[in-house]
Subunit: 215 residues, 2 copies
Amino acid sequence: MNVLLIGANGQIGQHLVDLFANKSEHTVRTMVRKEEQAAALKEKGVEAVVADLEGSVDKIAEAAQGCDAVIFTAGSGGKTGPDKTLLVDLDGAVKSFEAAEQAGIKRYVMVSAFQAGNRENWNEKLRPYYVAKHYADRMLEESSLNYTIVRPGGLLNEEGTGKVAAAVSGLERGSIPRVDVARTVYETLTEEKTYKKTFDLISGDTEIEAALKSL
Amino acid sequence: MNVLLIGANGQIGQHLVDLFANKSEHTVRTMVRKEEQAAALKEKGVEAVVADLEGSVDKIAEAAQGCDAVIFTAGSGGKTGPDKTLLVDLDGAVKSFEAAEQAGIKRYVMVSAFQAGNRENWNEKLRPYYVAKHYADRMLEESSLNYTIVRPGGLLNEEGTGKVAAAVSGLERGSIPRVDVARTVYETLTEEKTYKKTFDLISGDTEIEAALKSL
């Protein structure tokens, strides 16, 4: 697969860039916001295009042209305000769904947040962020795309274990190293058991591949 | 009809309260956030219940119990930040759709914003607000409710003219007195030509009733 990676400069995104570089089954094209980010990626031998989630759907569709799948792990981050949460995490995400549809891409993997589907389980301080993720996910679920929505628990910068717990519902809140989220996202790309599914993800006892097969 | 009015303390909401008081075809129950707001309305002889758009769907459904229609003209307003835009204008609105469905109410009239459906026509400064209204409207359009979405242009506190221009598309940006928005919303309640429709609204040359019939 030729995969468009949106959010390649984020922490999970960087792990994904490394995974694509170390494995040969897929190729990756990163989509970044700034020319200098693209230049830095190209210097490392990574294909990069510049397009902005705050820009037009057409421009994002152009960046996605020729890809077979999209991975979305972009986010406005904690340093900007909830205005950017609305513009990037919600509207930017939905624009990328529309762009994928426009570019004839069917497969779409979204990095969301633990229990984003259930208002009662939202972290009180992060509530506005959860609202944005919640509605982006709902729009994706109602789109024509063959989606997978991955909802990791608390993100850690620890070394990965390669072992997770993944479930559509019923998981206790937990945490997970970012690198294991990236590995899981990578594996979902072609794992049919994850098609049209939304699941929570934390560290656990099961190899990633097996955990996804049991969904 | 027995109508639940959400946002009765807003400027359009207050005009609606007056309209319901002066006409006898419908009765109104206002839903407000604070006990003192409810007390003030009750003192004027207006039925009032306390429920919070930031609270649970169940609580809103309880407030809506026994009503035949909902009018939503609430908003977080310009004094709070985009965090409240997410929590009230988007999630609060969608909760009220879910509450209406839960309470067995079919008819739902939403006050939205001019051209909220078209990203390219959004006011740059109000973009986060438009994102919230856009997705609330999309969720309503995809709900099971018999909705009408009214999208007024720039809101004025001038005297009403009772004459408007209403169209699903093709209207030039314009403005409209809040009282004329309230009158239009009131008329949509039972005007079948507005069922399952979303339209822009500005001041114009046509009597409100006629403008709605031509949709």
